[in-house]
């Protein structure tokens, strides 16, 4: 092949195209390697072929020197294109976080804008303010008036810790960037018109959220109330929680106070920065039996009337499961329906073994275990087990069958499990942001309820729903009954290995059509009969009362 400048020019053109296409996938080091190779290739291609003997200070060597310098400048231009065009947006918004202090280093231009911009409000569905911005002397102060709802918005701390939660997820909307067309935006930039932020209307009900906190008191735990038909989150309470207003840093004075508060949050052994409702991972305990029951019925292995033997002990390859839940020790044969109502571990260990590792894994995944749950806030990912190998042993399958083993789930996910069973097996995509609205009240976008996945067949779901109702009318969940309404539920107790077990309750309410589902967890809250069950009942009753 002839080497000449035409090839060099073609090569550079190719490189520009390739750089535009792949530059975003390369780290800086890899990109530099590409540049180096490209530079050598271009030089090689463009290098004059004539190998005439060159004299001292010949025309040719001076020209070649010019060629080398030109190629160097071409490489510089390529790198500039990467920084200023191809990778521009990623770099502008790049954020670094200091591992030790949690302090955030971001583009000061954006921080500067954040300090001044009239950021949109975050509102509960009843119109009460969760977050708003007050402009004072050109500086924007973020306010969170209601401590019970504030932390759901996340935090907004431009000078120190950046943004988190809805403040981060919906940053573009709150800043007003997503409001307008590219053309209007251009005009705004040219005329230096500050954008006005959009308001977020949430599905959260502030009175139910406050009620949830009232019920939780100072106990550590979480409450999630979800609209069965839509997947809208109506209450999302976590205790303990933080006060985002104390993290707002518009001025230097606020900085020190915010840093001290942040440090106290980090030092707190109760970890108030962890939103337990979405980020807390707990063993689901007996609440998982609803999933196992649904799996067995859906897979055709059992019906609610199927009878299992439970004489108080089950030996699974030397691993002995002791039954402590039978209401009557003289009865040894139990239907699956009653087994769920009385939370019989020995029966569900057998059901788990009948299902086997594969079906158990499959249905747990169907119900969201180990899956990335799409949501407006960061959600911790649960698990069936840390790996599939765990389920290779029979004792592990038996333990998983009644909700122990290595299972982990967030309260949000367990609320979704209850909601999916109440909603004919359709697990809705959970959401918190209902509408994005301009200051003039014009709706820009609206969240449409969407089915995330059909976890089991409609028939299966109805059978399990009736079993959960049976658990309230005839079983251990009887305390959850509400006059005039249909309530289904399942208690749970999760052994933690240290101290009192965590206590669970999941359930739903209907009139008789199911309306709301709930999940409550109390850390080290003892058995699931008293605390979580009472909280769940109150929440369901309050939600229905408000609906009426």
């Amino acid at each position: 092949m002839r080497r000449n400048p035409v090839f060099a020019v073609l090569g550079v053109a190719l490189l520009v195209g390739a750089g535009w296409g792949v530059s975003r996938y390369l780290s800086h080091g890899q990109w530099l390697a590409v540049l180096a190779v490209a530079w050598l290739a271009v030089l090689f291609l463009a290098w004059p072929r004539r190998q005439k003997r060159t004299g001292p200070a010949s025309i040719e060597s001076v020209a070649k020197l010019g060629l080398v310098l030109t190629s160097v400048f071409a490489i510089l231009a390529l790198q500039l294109a990467r920084i200023q065009a191809w990778e521009q947006e990623r770099i502008v918004t790049r954020i670094a976080r200091d591992e030790e202090t949690g302090e955030v280093a971001a583009n000061p231009r954006l921080i500067n804008e954040d300090l001044r911009i009239d950021r949109g409000r975050i509102l509960a569905r009843d119109g009460s303010v969760i977050a708003e911005t007050v402009i004072d002397d050109g500086l924007a102060h973020r306010r969170y008036p209601d401590p019970a709802t504030a932390y759901v918005a996340g935090y907004f701390s431009p000078l120190l810790y950046g943004k988190f939660g809805l403040e981060a997820t919906y940053d573009a909307e709150l800043r007003g960037e997503a409001e307008v067309s590219a053309w209007t935006r251009w005009q705004d930039i040219l005329l230096h018109r500050p954008p006005r932020g959009l308001d977020l209307w949430l599905t959260l009900d502030s009175s139910l959220q406050r009620y949830a906190h009232e019920l939780l008191g100072d106990r550590t735990g979480a409450v999630v109330l979800i609209d069965v038909e839509t997947g809208a989150i109506v209450a999302l309470a976590s205790n303990p929680h933080f006060d985002p207003e104390a993290l707002v840093t518009t001025t230097a004075e606020e900085r020190d106070a915010a840093a001290a508060y942040w440090q106290s949050l980090l030092d707190d052994s109760d970890r108030p920065l962890l939103l337990r409702a979405t980020q807390g991972l707990y063993t689901p305990g007996s609440t998982f039996k609803t999933v196992v029951a649904a799996a067995a019925i859906d897979a055709g292995i059992a019906t609610p009337d199927e009878v299992y033997r439970d004489d108080g002990l089950l030996d699974v390859e030397g691993h002995v499961i002791i039954e402590a839940n039978r209401p009557d020790d003289t009865i040894e044969m139990w239907s699956l329906r009653d087994a769920l109502a009385f939370s019989l571990n020995v029966v569900f260990a057998q059901v788990g073994l009948e299902l086997g590792a594969n079906l158990l894994w499959h249905y747990a995944e169907q119900f969201g275990f180990g899956q990335e749950i799409p949501f407006d806030l960061p959600v911790a990912r649960g698990q069936v087990a840390s790996s599939k190998e765990f389920l290779e042993s029979a004792p592990a399958i038996a333990d998983t069958g009644f909700g122990q083993g290595q299972l982990l789930a967030t309260p949000l996910q367990m609320a979704m499990v209850a909601a999916a069973i109440a909603n004919d097996g359709a697990m809705m995509r959970p959401y918190l942001v209902e509408r994005v609205v301009t200051r003039d009240g014009e709706t820009r976008s609206e969240t449409r309820p969407r089915v995330w996945r059909q976890v089991v067949s409609e028939e299966t779901a109805r059978e399990v729903r009736d079993m959960m109702i049976h658990a309230v009318t005839n079983g251990y969940a009887y305390g959850a009954a509400i006059d005039g309404l249909v309530v289904g539920g399942k208690t749970g107790t999760a052994e933690t290995g240290d101290g009192e077990p965590h206590a669970w309750f999941i359930g739903f309410v209907g009139d008789p059509e199911p309306r709301y589902a709930v999940a409550v967890v109390l850390e080290h809250g003892g058995t699931g009969l008293s605390g979580p069950l009472a909280i769940a009942r109150e929440m369901l009753a309050a939600a229905m009362a408000q609906r009426a």
Binding site: G29, T70, E103, G138
Partner: protein, 448 residues
Amino acid sequence: MTLMSATRPALPRFRWRELQLVVLATAAVLAGLVSLATVNRGALVTALWQDIQASALVAGLFLAASLGFAIVRYRGDQTILPLVATLAGIGLVFIERLQPDLAALDPDLAGLASRHRIYLAAGMVILWLAAAFVPLDWLQRFKYTALLASLALLAVTFVFGTEINGARLWLTIGPLQMQPSEVVKLTLVIFLAAYLAEKRDLIGASWRFGPLRLPPIPYLAPMVVMWAASLLVLVILNDLGTALLFFGIFLAMLYAASGRPVYVLTGLAAFAVASWLAYALFDRIGIRVQNWLDPWWDPLDAGYQPMQAEYALASGGILGTGLGLGQPWRIPEVQTDFIFAAIGEELGLLGTCAVLALYLALVGRGLIIALRTRDAFLRLLATGLAATVGIQAAIIVGGVIRVIPLTGITLPFISYGGSSLLTNCLLAGLLLNISATTERGQPAGRRR
């Protein structure tokens, strides 16, 4: 036209081309200054009208220089001055633009623009004098004096130098501070040009050492000396940028003189080894390398400056924020090492590429001047001077945009700094002077 110039071959025509280009450059500078004065930045301080007027006057010196050349019927190249005027004008506008913001951060920087104006005015005078009056054969004759002066200056800097930001680069004489390495780069080019021109006949010779064919001693000796000198600059003055620049100049000139890539490759390899050693031995250089690969490794401390530069460049995007509308003062040392990032923020990719193109044009013009001279010394001198501008610009721009590790040297003609501005104007003046020797009475306008 042909008839006219044929009848009057001895007198060059009026330098219309240069004047036209300089008018363009001056107009651009004036437009920049006016837009600075009128930009609305709310409550923030903008440049004062009197500052703008003073800068406009200095920009007028470009025109004066060109008219001066025209009046004395100067024979030199007609594009060097416009290129220098454009680059220096961009520098002037940006220093003017940065001053109010920098003064708000640090009151010591309040006199930045006025000092820069004085340096630039002096620079224009020096350019003019160097172009018109310096006898080039003197430079050749006093080559060893130049070398000794270079080494002496470096030694004096080492002994009496003032340390700023960890590098011992400045000499303080009374109220004045100068950066000898800027001057030394010129004396070095002069010495190398003279030396290599003198020994050029030895090019064919080589020196057998067993099975090896070594380059002739006259090439080998200065190579070793230069390598050692660069290394000393690196180690003693703690200045990677100057070391890289000196060595780059040396390699470029050695290649131009010998036409042998082998020398260059050997030299590069030696420099690579030295750099690696320096990297392994000095923490300061290790940090530079870390920052080169990823300044986000220590965002609040060591990586702060390059990270801010990257934010500034990216914030500019393709078109830039517009003059006076960005926030480049957030980069520490933006007026010297990082002025290119300020250009990138406010003038965008178009602006940065235009600046690169201007440097490339200046280098290209310098090399063309070199090619037009018959005299070996002048050819090597012009080559060296042109390469110096190109290499220096590439080193600092490459550092700012993280193609190579950052080394603190100035961006020729644009950065704030007296020594840098004056020496670069002297360099441009010498280039003009060389070009004037080649015209041999031919009107430059005919070379279109």
